[in-house]
Amino acid sequence: MENEKATPPYLEVNGLVKWFGADRAVDNISFGVERGKFLTLLGPSGCGKTTTLMSIAGLHGIDGGDIRVGDVTYTSFSKKLFLPPEKRDIGMVFQSYAIWPHMTVAQNVAYPLEIRKIDRAEIDSRVADVLRLVGLGDMADKLATQLSGGQQQRAALARAIVSRPRLLLFDEPLSNLDLKLREQMRVELKRIQNEVGITSVYVTHDQSEALVMSDEIIVMSKGRIEQKGGPHEIYAHPVNRYVSNFIGVANLLEGHVIRVTSPGHGEFEVNHGNERVILPCCLGEGLKEGAAAVLSVRPENVEARRKDPGTPRLEGEVLEAIFLGNCVDCRVRWGAFEWKVLAHPRDRLRPGERVFLHLDPDHSLAVQP
């Protein structure tokens, strides 16, 4: 983090603003990506991910901010600079793949090279190379309409990387594939990106995709950045309720921080019916004594025991226990609250049973509401 100032990131988006009519689709967001890294913009539909990507691509103008890659300014609102999209040297993979149906696979992939007036022999060898890289070596002469969804996806990727652009942009490229293929393509796509080493910005609403593929993740909501960090950091240390809820599954309890015991640690109080329960926990950034907060606990960090542990005493009733093979997905009623608990199969929890919940204080995190 500190040396960011010493060497500026390769792609830098600064104070980006984009309006659609009276609608602020992107609201003053800034981020950077190191050369060769894979950044994911993650957020629900309509939060401004595509708009951000299109702004980088130059497919529309912007209403504020600057975008720079290396030493080339792509767009600068204040300096009134705008590089047309075709001059930006970007490879882009669209949600619909956008493989041109009137050309063969090889013609599709050769197109960016033809535009760059590279000679035929080199085009042919580079197209062949890249088709082999994405696993379409024997599909070169097929028409785009003869390809399956997954193959079109690969062809689109080949077309995006064949000119070795400065930047790769992906707009939900896997969302039209079925689940099996999607999981397979995640790994493949990441492998190919590693191999070609092109700095990438990836847009998705699928949090597991983001966790698997990214070097860094930006969680967005309503045109703003909620949190930026590595997959592990985002998962383990969400800054607020929104991020915690969006990434993975979490039990979210509303309450207050009543005491700071040591830096980063403290006690959290929840109202449970008439009684007040005090839970030791870790404290997220900026939480002071008395602050309203949300306690976020992942289901795998909640343990359901049959023995009474004393205090804090969280006694509940198992509502549902779904056997998933390596674990049991349980719901435990605790007053008006329902806990999500991942239990070990050997515990053999049954619906209707009374259990005591044990929270690991090191994995219970109080965050901004």
Binding site: F82, L83, P85, E86, D89, F94, Q95, W100, R116, R159
Partner: protein, 584 residues
């Protein structure tokens, strides 16, 4: 900072930082230029028409003053108010006839087990492509009181005194207009009947509703916007139709607004300013109905019908299917077979007096109208053939280029310009050809393009390019914008993208639109009749000339020639465009 891998790319493309030139990119220069051209072409004639309608010609016909006299005359003239009423009667009558026939035929073809449906459908559409003016000429030859073929046959075989049928009156005008515009309703309705999700009807049936009840409570309301759209289009098109009332109405005292505008545009007592005010009145009616149709009815017909290729529910008509077949065959008989047959018969006689005389049969009429190299040929006809081919070819080509650029602007660029263009493209549809032609006439009469083919070309393109634009737009809507965008991202400029990606993908739409315009231009009458001068006659003007100054036989010969060319175009059109390409 950059390593080699990135630096080898984009050979030749400037590395430099581009200036903020959003006002001067290829794309925006083209948008602005095209918007200005379209705006000028569409708005200038209409604006001039409005201005002209307030200029009053003095009694000597030399000087003008400003005033409302032209509008006063609309109510006080001894012919115009009647023409107004006749126009409304004819439009209403044609609308009712075309709607009843069009909906029945569409339902029979889309939803029943009527025999030979696939074979008959193309014939139902033929009148759409032919000239209603020629239809009127044919029906005059079939059912004029004295010389009509049907009446002559009735006299000779049934011994009827006088006549059986008479189309030389307002009912004849309604009859011919109605049957020739039936395909318009048919096309609007048959698409929604075919594409309707059958489960909508099935779910009504499962609740216990019978067939009749389901049809009335589910099917009919779902296709109602289509029916209403078709009916309005027929009303408006009939109101602007010139050829049919000119042939079957005006000579027998049934004047309409179009025939009156015509007399004010040509001839000795021409008064463009009065013609302009009548055009304003006619244009106000048609523009209002088109506005209602476009704004409130057309959008609804899409929400009810899904685009998926369903297999629609088919009703078993039992023995009634022979009645349905009879109705369909009867329509084809009166709208296609009888008129064409009659034209051919008449064209083969030196003069037509109502009787087929085999010993008289001759091709002389064809020689006189088609053999341009002979000195005894009629120049209005031979000129017309040449001019119409030139105009149709050039007009369709220019209009499609314009349509392509306009569609692109509307669907691929955002903001004020594209919304303006969208609006501009609807305006010409709201005004009949004869009204727009009056506008073009008063606008350009003092310029060098008057009395050349250019003014006709301008009139044709202005009035009809929206049809081409719609054809392209419907294809463009089906093509994802990402296909264009990915070409830009691959490094191609806007122009290169248009040339290598967009246009190749739009080819089917471009061709269908081109051929449709070619056909429309080849039979165009109501614009041509206002804008032609001696030497710039068109095919339909040639037919008009022969009908007015020569005899029925020569007229029929040229009509047959025009019909043959149009029929050939239909065959090509169906080959290339598929059967539902017309519904846009």
């Amino acid at each position: 900072m950059r390593t080699e891998a990135a630096a080898v790319t984009l050979a030749g493309a400037p590395r430099s930082i581009g200036r903020w030139r959003s006002l001067f990119t290829q794309e925006s220069i083209a948008t602005i230029a095209v918007s200005l051209i379209v705006a000028a072409a569409v708005l200038l004639p209409l604006a001039t028409l409005v201005v002209s309608s307030f200029r009053v010609l003095d009694d000597l016909g030399f000087s003008t003053t400003w005033g409302l006299d032209n509008y006063r005359l609309l109510f006080t003239d001894h012919v115009i108010p009647g023409a107004f009423v006749n126009t409304l009667l004819i439009s209403t009558g044609s609308m009712v006839l075309a709607t009843v026939l069009g909906v029945s035929l569409a339902w029979i073809n889309a939803r029943t087990n009527c025999p030979w449906r696939e074979k008959l459908e193309p014939f139902n559409l033929i009148p759409f492509f032919l000239s209603p003016f020629v239809g009127a000429i044919a029906w005059h030859n079939l059912a004029a009181p004295k010389t009509g073929l049907i009446n002559a046959l009735a006299r000779n075989t049934l011994g009827i005194e006088g006549h059986l049928l008479n189309v030389d009156n307002i009912y004849g005008v309604i009859w011919v207009t109605g049957i020739f515009f039936t395909p318009l309703v048919y096309l609007f309705v048959v698409g929604s009947l075919r594409r309707m999700d059958p489960s909508l009807e099935d779910s009504a049936r499962t609740t216990g509703a019978g067939l009749l009840r389901t049809t009335l409570t589910v099917t009919l309301p779902l296709v109602a916007p289509g029916i209403l759209s078709g009916a309005i289009i027929v009303f408006v098109t009939s109101a602007g139709e010139f050829g049919v009332p000119f042939k079957l109405g005006a000579p027998y005292g049934v004047e309409t607004l179009t025939t009156q505008i015509f007399t004010k545009a040509v001839g000795d007592d021409a008064n463009y300013y009065l013609g302009a005010s009548m055009s304003m009145a006619l244009g106000a009616i048609t523009a209002f109905f088109i506005f209602v149709q476009q704004r409130y009815i057309a959008p609804r017909s899409f929400t009810t019908v899904t685009g998926k290729g369903f297999r629609p529910n088919v009703v078993d008509l039992g023995r009634w299917k022979w009645l349905a077949l009879g109705l369909n065959l009867a329509f084809i008989l009166v709208a296609v077979v009888l008129p064409i047959f009659c034209l051919v018969v008449v064209s083969l006689h030196p003069v037509w007096e109502g009787e087929i005389i085999l010993s008289d049969i001759t091709f002389r009429n064809y020689v006189k109208t088609l053999a341009f190299w002979r000195t005894d040929s009629i120049s209005a006809a031979t000129n017309g053939i040449f001019n119409s081919f030139i105009l149709s070819f050039a007009g369709a080509s220019i209009a499609m280029v314009l349509s392509l650029v306009v569609s692109y602007m509307i669907h691929r660029t955002k903001g004020f310009g594209s919304r303006m263009l969208d609006l501009l493209c609807v305006i010409p549809i709201g005004f009949p050809g004869i009204v727009l032609a009056m506008g073009v006439l008063v606008t350009y009469i003092k310029t060098p393009i008057y009395a050349t083919l250019w003014i006709l070309l301008l009139g044709y393109i202005t009035r009809f390019f929206p049809y081409g634009q719609r054809n392209i737009s419907s294809v463009m809507l089906a093509i994802s914008e990402e296909l264009d965008q990915s070409s830009r991202m691959a490094g191609a400029s806007w122009i290169t993208t248009l040339r290598r990606i967009t246009i190749p993908l739009l080819k089917p739409g471009i061709f269908a639109g081109w051929l449709l315009l070619f056909i429309i231009f080849l039979r165009e009458l109501s614009i041509s009749i206002i804008l032609y001068t001696s030497g710039t006659e068109t095919l339909s003007v040639g037919v008009y000339y022969l009908a007015n100054f020569e005899n029925e036989s020569l007229t029929s010969a040229l009509s047959v020639a025009q019909t043959v060319v149009l029929l050939a175009c239909i065959v090509i059109f169906r080959r290339m465009a598929g059967r539902e390409a017309l519904t846009a």
